[in-house]
Amino acid sequence: MSNLALKEILYKMADDLLVFGHRNSEWTGFGPLLEEDIAFSSMAQDKIGQSQALYQLLHQLGEQEPDTVAFTRNANQFHNCTLVELPNREYDFSLVRHFLFDTADALRWQMLMQSSYTPLAQLAAKVRGELRYHTLHANTWIKQLGSATEESIGRLQQSLNELAPYALGMFERSPYEDQLIADQIYEGEKALEARWQQAIEKTLAQTQLTSPDWKIQTPHLGGRVGEHTEHLQPLLDEMSEVFRIDPGAEW
């Protein structure tokens, strides 16, 4: 099997988790409630930890040290989807993004438990337990606020509509799609997207929110091949600044 295909999926997952973990950590000290502060900080710690484990797998495949890979590349070398790099904005915007991303992420890791690439399947078995808490958190708040007041429902709905094209960008097809499926690394983006839409709709059906019409959306693509919004580079600069000051800093 070609390492290029394998590296492609490892990089996009690791970069998603690193960038999103960093965005989550920006809620520290700014959450609407102390417990939300703690929740986003904990999830940030999980996600950054998971990204490090993936960079470690890449290192075993011949890429550079995890810290070097994480903190010394520029935006055009990052493979995260654009959804995760958008600034946090208001809480409802962050919550909807958390719901859209983590639902996909949990399903992706679940698929990877069956991966023919053993190190990834082993990591997936471990990560699955942690992610239960992330999806539980997202679903709980979406259900609660998505059925609360007219204002909360309206704000979530607007965030949902705005984020829908970015969310679809999570499933940007890889040039190695067929190969990854044939080699049973995982079932591929198309299958993942279909499962994700079902899961999202199932939760939204328990609220007063309306699922976006996925068919009429134009997915925001490019993230997987290094084409990002203007928001990624400043975030990377900030991350690597901490790294340059103290390369041994605990994340």
Partner: protein, 167 residues
Amino acid sequence: MLDSGKSIGPLNAELLSWLEEVKDPEIPVLSLVDMGVITQAEVDGSVARVEMTPTFVGCPALEIMKQEVEQVITRHGFTPEVTVSFREPWSSDKMTEKGKAALKKFGLAPPPASAQVFHDLEILESATCPRCNGTNTELKNPFGPTLCRAIYYCHTCHEAFEQFKPV
């Protein structure tokens, strides 16, 4: 003398007894052995080989615990070879009964069987209070002060408590 082990053999009892000394820095009553994070412990000549697996992938205490394991082995006159692996992923079910009892005494509710949680997330909605053993409790936050803890409220004691999360 210690027995010589195989590549992935049974856990060497004497080596394990040394590791009892190393506690989780976040929960000082719990040894690494009780926690169930030691997945391999074997002695091969002068080398003591230990494989550990993290409780949470992003566990910040892992590196400290790894260093302490190396120090304990060195102190007993062996060369440490300590690795971290996901070969046998940790789940809270790996915690020993002794460990669960120690947790409860420490005031932290021990984790329920994780298989049940995967089957039904509602299990997380309540936990048994480590103070009064009451079950009239409520999940306040699935994320506590450390990655492995969740926060509950006991309606009998009218106080909050923490549970070691089932994973």
